[in-house]
Structure formats: structure tokens, C-alpha cells
Symmetry: C2
Subunit: 205 residues, 2 copies
DNA sequence: CGAATGAATATTTCAGAGAAAATTCACTCT
DNA sequence: AGAGTGAATTTTCTCTGAAATATTCATTCG
């Protein structure tokens, strides 16, 4: 019974993933609003009604699409941090650079994804997912700061608070609305570096 | 002829100011979109048509209203900086605090002004005005950094670039769209201080 | 002649009907 | 029973003409 239930679950998981994959393609191509359930169903080789056995509604698909992206970014951050040979500062900077790079590349590749970001910010549940993602980033950075403090390369401070402050100063880099307004995409990464320089160096003599 | 022309100008200026004053009241009260030319004209004691002798169109009135607010903020910054008895760091921090305080207070007092901000960001000319305002802030802060470098309290750096970087890190504090999303208005100022602490102190030992 | 008006014109918004999409559900098939 | 369907139902968009608003302009007024 257990293995059978597991198999069924696995099959359902696969179908969910399949749907999500096609949905993401469509969102990236046509934008969230122009993509309709019928299209997603067709691409996934099923009827619209059947989609609802796998996702509560269209909104849920949109949120799952974003959540999947966030997971990828989180994974990329962790991968960046895996190499402990660099000092804490370099690792933290690399991790933040990875996040921003991901976002910039993604938006450059398919500008229609901005719609997905707008949808996310205009949705209560979406904001919760966003908060959760930021929380993960904060904890990840905090852990690195803790290591830096331990090895003496970073000042004593509350790692969680400091991580939150760093992320706040970089808010403009992951708020899609402001990111879109960035004059010239090519200056995004240098600008990020400038802020990081300032935060690590300090202004005072 | 010259004095007469001057008097005419002065009269026109006064009328313009009068219109702007009423328009700003209405924008704050009813929001930019709900306020109509007829209302502004009535309050200003003239016909709608006559308004166009003083402002090109409604957009121009909206922009003038924002420009006036920016001027006030710039003046408040300069006033804050006038007292040279404090060290450079304290003066810079006070000036930035002044800007953010102004914005927060203004938005708390009349939330409808958010519409004016949205209008500003959705308008080409509006973005230019915004850019100009940021440029003034940058120059103002840069001048103070220069003083700090001279008196030895701040590190040697390019003042203009550094000022630009500081403003970029604080972007979330003057982008109305993000400011509105701030969970709890009461944390805005402490959050600002945290970022400033980080930028002045530095993270590294 | 400059200030001002209000009717004339152009543009924008808005309600409501029809169309399209989202969601549900009774049902089939395996 | 669980996967799936497609027609039925509900909700959301879209389009269109009417109403409201913005803007212009011929004309009046002092």
C-alpha cells in the first residue's frame, strides 16, 4: 500500500512538473496575463478541467512558477557558497552577485517575465512567497557572516540583523519594478559592486 | 517699460503660485486622477480655459507640484547642513534623514499623494525632474563628503561617485512604490540608520 | 493689449452588453 | 477508485457608445 501510494504520488508529481514546465514557457513567451489555462492544458496534453486536479487555479500555477525560480536562485547561492576556500567577504559578495545576475539574465532573456513579477507583488500569497525567499537569503548570508566573525575577518555584529540590512540596501536590485527602470542594464552589476565596496569598507577613516 | 513688464510678470507669478497651491491641496485630498481642471479653476477663482494661460496642461500642474515639493526637500537638506559645528558624518546622516522623514511624513499625512508619485514615474518629463532632484541630492552629499575628506574624518574617495552609491543603496527609501510596500512605516527611519551605520562603519575588521 | 470667459472640440473615462476565459462538475474510461 | 473529459456555470475581460473631462479658441471685458 505504501509503495503504491508513493508511486501514485510520484506520477502526480511528474504531471505537476510537466504542467509547470509548459506553463513557465508560456509565461516567459506570452506573459502571465495573455497565457490562458486552455493553452497550458493543450501543451500539457490534457483538458483544461484536468489541470485543476494538479493546481488549485491559475494563480497557483503562477506562484509555483515563481517559487521554482526562487528555489533555483537559492540553490545557485548555496552552490556559490559551497567553495569554502575563499574568505567570507568574497563568498558573500559572490552569492549576492549570483542572485542579481540570475535576475538580470532572466529578465533580459524574456522581458515578459516582468508580468509574473507584477502579479507576484500584487498578490497577498505572492508577497508571502517573496518574504519567504528573502528570509532564506537572509539566513544564508547570516550564516556566512557568522563564519566571517568566527574566523576574525568580519566585525562582531548580529549576523541576522546585518544580513537583513545588507539585503535592504540592495532592495533596488531585486525589486522588479525598480530593476526595470534601471537606465542601462549593463551598469547593474558594477553598481552592485560599488554598494558592496562601501558596506564592507566603510566610509570613515 | 521694464518695471511695468516686471510687474506683469510678478502678477503672473503670483497667479501661478495661487493655482499651484490650490492644485496641490486637491491632489493631496482627492488624488491626482480624481482632481480635475474644473475643480482647480474653481478654487482658483477662474474659468478652466484661463488656467491654460498659466500652465500648459494638467500634467504641467502635476509636475510643478512635485517640483515644488522637491525644492522644499532640497531647501530642508541645505538647512540641515548649514550648521557646520557637527562632523561631516553626522551632517550627511542628518541630511539623508531629513529627506526620508519629509517623504514619510508627507505620505502619512496624505496617502493620496502616492498617485502623484505614480504619475511622476509614468511620465517621461517626470522622470527627468526626478533625475534632476537626485542629481541635486548627489551634489549636496558629495560636497559634504569632500569636506569630510578635507578634515580627515572620511576616507579618500571620489565624492561624486560615493554620493551616488549612497543614494543608490537608499533607493528603496525614496521610491514611492517600494516605500508604500514598507510593512510598518515606523521601521523606516531605524532601517535607514542601520544602512547608514553599515556604510560608515564597514563590515570588515 | 493682456486677462478672462465659455462655447466648441478633442480626448478620456465609464457603464453595460457580449465574448472569452476560468472554474466546476457530472460523467466516462481504464 | 483515480485519471481524464467536455459541457455547464461563474468570473473576468473587452469592446462600444454615452458621459465626463481636458484643451482650444473666438470673443468679451477693462
Amino acid at each position: 500500500m505504501a509503495p503504491q501510494a508513493k508511486m501514485v504520488d510520484t506520477q502526480a508529481q511528474a504531471t505537476r512538473a510537466e504542467i509547470l514546465h509548459h506553463a513557465h514557457d508560456l509565461f516567459a513567451h506570452y506573459g502571465y496575463w495573455k497565457t490562458n489555462i486552455g493553452d497550458i492544458a493543450e501543451r500539457s496534453g490534457m483538458s483544461p478541467g484536468n489541470l485543476y486536479r494538479y493546481y488549485r487555479n491559475k494563480q497557483a500555477i503562477g506562484l509555483a512558477s515563481v517559487a521554482q525560480y526562487f528555489q533555483q536562485v537559492e540553490a545557485a547561492m548555496l552552490a556559490t557558497l559551497a567553495d569554502r576556500s575563499d574568505p567570507a567577504e568574497a563568498r558573500i559578495r559572490a552569492a549576492l552577485r549570483t542572485c542579481v545576475e540570475h535576475l538580470v539574465v532572466e529578465f533580459e532573456r524574456n522581458p515578459k517575465l516582468v508580468e509574473l513579477a507584477e502579479f507576484l507583488c500584487g498578490d497577498d500569497e505572492g508577497l508571502k512567497i517573496l518574504d519567504a525567499h528573502v528570509a532564506v537569503k537572509r539566513q544564508t548570508i547570516a550564516a556566512e557572516i557568522r563564519l566571517g566573525i568566527q574566523d576574525g575577518s568580519l566585525k562582531a555584529c548580529d549576523p541576522e540583523t546585518t544580513a537583513a540590512t545588507i539585503l535592504m540596501a540592495l532592495k533596488a536590485f531585486w525589486t522588479p519594478m525598480t530593476l526595470v527602470l534601471w537606465r542601462d542594464q549593463s551598469t547593474v552589476l558594477p553598481d552592485l559592486e560599488a554598494i558592496l565596496d562601501l558596506m564592507f569598507d566603510g566610509l570613515r577613516t
